[in-house]
Symmetry: D2
Subunit: 134 residues, 4 copies
């Protein structure tokens, strides 16, 4: 059981969202933020860094957006639905852009292949959370 | 001249956005992130903290979202327009929610009054940037 | 196998650190950052929020410091040893302070109990990483 | 008057630190975080990106550490002195490493020259704050 599930289980407030869907998003976005940070750094370390400029750029954005989306979604006290929705949508958009770019390099760089998968998983988890919020 | 303007002036790439509008957003969001962090902390230090729970919550979200929106907007190499737009929209939404809440406490707490102003300024700067991106 | 391990396995550069010790720190710090964010929020939602002010404060600091320590430690391209050491030491210090405070409330609040454990685990992982860097 | 000064002026708690020294650090670290984010991105956009790998790496670390140091220093409710000192020291260390590296490229890239200055100013402000905490 991840910390996301355990912390939601022990939260002081009720929240009208499916805790499994929420925890899945928090975990996925946290992992994706890490994968994107590491992929940006691994790309930077490649001899072919000049061909990976767009990948590094999007990895950085996606790492930042996923990290903050996970933080906002982790908070269940006095949530503002419009705000949560906006940042989870931004997260899905970032994961789409970064996942598409990483896919382009997946055959040559395993770090891009793994990062693309993290982005796909998180985009999916974001869309499931958005659907659950309707 | 702020660092945002100086760094945009010396950037290695061309970018098809009005540099003044972009720098104004970066500066406003950076200042707002700081103001929200400080307001959350000042609220936490009030004897009446129990009445400021929603304000602290939204200050935290707004600090996080503004900080990341400023980072993404600062990057001009291989930008993804959909991604930039999504995070700037999330920033405007966060500033709206947090500014509205801080306004409720502005007459009693100067830190809320100042923070509300930072949120209003940043929401405006975000909307100007979104308009310039069209 | 976590993303930390998978991303280190596929990194473009060699690094003269035990990958298991490094991955353990990255994973622990990432989990702890999330646990602290969630604990701050759960404390904020308690009726007794006035007694949890110091806990919320330290949770916020610890969440921020753990998150950045995990990012810095995830990067293996052209690392600066002094810099890595300084942020991992700051992480250990933050986890010590936050773990001690959360322990004070562990008997009444399960979120504090779980968060204290995350802080203890991360302080330990930070100290193991510092030892491995010597 | 910056937001750092205005927010410290209106804070709910007393703090036994010189407010000018504290505000100077918060402002410098916030500006430096932005300058480093922008410098990493401008380096990434250069044709000679392969020669700027270490600069990009340190810019990213320094941006992350300065951002969190500014957040922690902005909080004045129930501060933990050891924790504040540890993150401000990490900030000084990051600014030293990043400033040294940016200096190497200052004659060719104005973004590195400006970023080096932001790092020098922030290292100085961090050392002044550490001295004031003794």
């Amino acid at each position: 059981m991840t910390y996301a599930t355990r912390m939601l289980d022990t939260h002081s407030r009720d929240f009208n969202l499916d805790a499994d869907v929420l925890a899945a998003f928090i975990d996925a976005a946290g992992q994706c933020s890490h994968a994107c940070t590491a992929c940006a750094d691994a790309c930077l370390g490649e001899a072919s860094v000049g061909e990976l400029v767009r990948c590094i750029r999007l990895d950085q954005d996606c790492a930042d957006v996923c990290s903050v989306a996970a933080r906002v979604a982790s908070r269940q006290t006095e949530s503002d639905t419009d705000l949560v929705r906006a940042i989870v949508e931004a997260c899905a958009t970032a994961c789409r852009a970064c996942g598409d770019e990483c896919d382009e390099h997946a055959s040559r760089h395993d770090h891009c292949r793994i990062c693309a998968q993290a982005c796909r998983d998180t985009e999916q988890a974001a869309r499931s959370l958005l659907a659950a919020m309707t």
